[in-house]
Symmetry: C2
Subunit: 135 residues, 2 copies
DNA sequence: TTCTCATGTAACTGCATAAGTTACATGATC
DNA sequence: GATCATGTAACTTATGCAGTTACATGAGAA
């Protein structure tokens, strides 16, 4: 799939797609090819790729919107607050990353399949009965 | 303590202090008084006030810097990713808030005391021996 | 070889959010 | 009434991210 096609689907810009996928490619999870027939292809088994892997490949961006004002404040109160805050944040981050590690791409793919079936069933129901008229 | 004094200590602006403390005052944890001798005073026991209480009083700001692009996307893949992401984020947020609830202000206060003693010991050591000359 | 397609990347432009600032109103105390 | 302190609206940076433009590079087709 090309960056242009992906950007349309994701309602954004081809360059944004390339910037994002660059890290994932460098980690070896996808491949990019130039020229005719080029674009992006998956380079590993979906079952071997987790959300955690992608998070790492993206450069482990900051997880939290909250945090310290200073890294090493002189103020002892600020130091004490930072210590408590850091302990709590670290623990929460560990939980989050563990959960990310639990989710592989094939799980997401099968979830998509499930949603696809659900959508089709709903469409059939609406057409078959002529629709309830509410939706 | 006045907003002006607090802003100096925290290296910021009096108005920023007032904006922050406004929510905490509305929740009843601190009091503000105008005029001579006015300023901010604690309105409850430090042991009864946790980081979680303060987080709530501040309006429960967004915890995570990562998240969805859209709340209700048409794209089934995006829906599936959102579902996995939300589950993980919710779990991490629950852990974080639980940790916040575990930390009361008097714990932080005693941590400050501990740090104060440690700093004094270090200062005495430096002065007593004439100092090592490195710091 | 030349044309076209696709990625790679630098550089720039919004755009949203938070912090900081200014200005002035309100109320309490001396 | 003078002074001190908060309350708040309005404005000004500062920052980071998404989006965009422009062009270089490389691969394949004609």
């Amino acid at each position: 799939m090309t960056s242009a096609a992906l950007s349309k689907v994701m309602d954004t810009n081809p360059v944004v797609i390339r910037r994002m996928l660059a890290g994932i490619r460098d980690a070896g999870y996808v491949r990019s090819d130039k020229g005719h027939g080029g674009g992006w292809t998956l380079a590993c088994e979906m079952s071997q790729l987790s959300l955690r892997d992608i998070y790492d490949a993206l450069g482990r961006p900051t997880v939290f919107a909250v945090g310290h004002r200073k890294e090493s404040p002189d103020c002892l109160v600020e130091q004490a607050v930072n210590a408590s805050l850091t302990a709590a944040l670290d623990e929460a981050e560990a939980v989050l990353l563990a959960r990310f590690a639990d989710v592989s791409l094939d799980q997401i793919a099968s979830d998509v399949q499930k949603r696809l079936r659900a959508r089709k069933t709903q469409q059939r129901r609406r057409q078959g009965t002529g629709g309830c008229g509410h939706v």
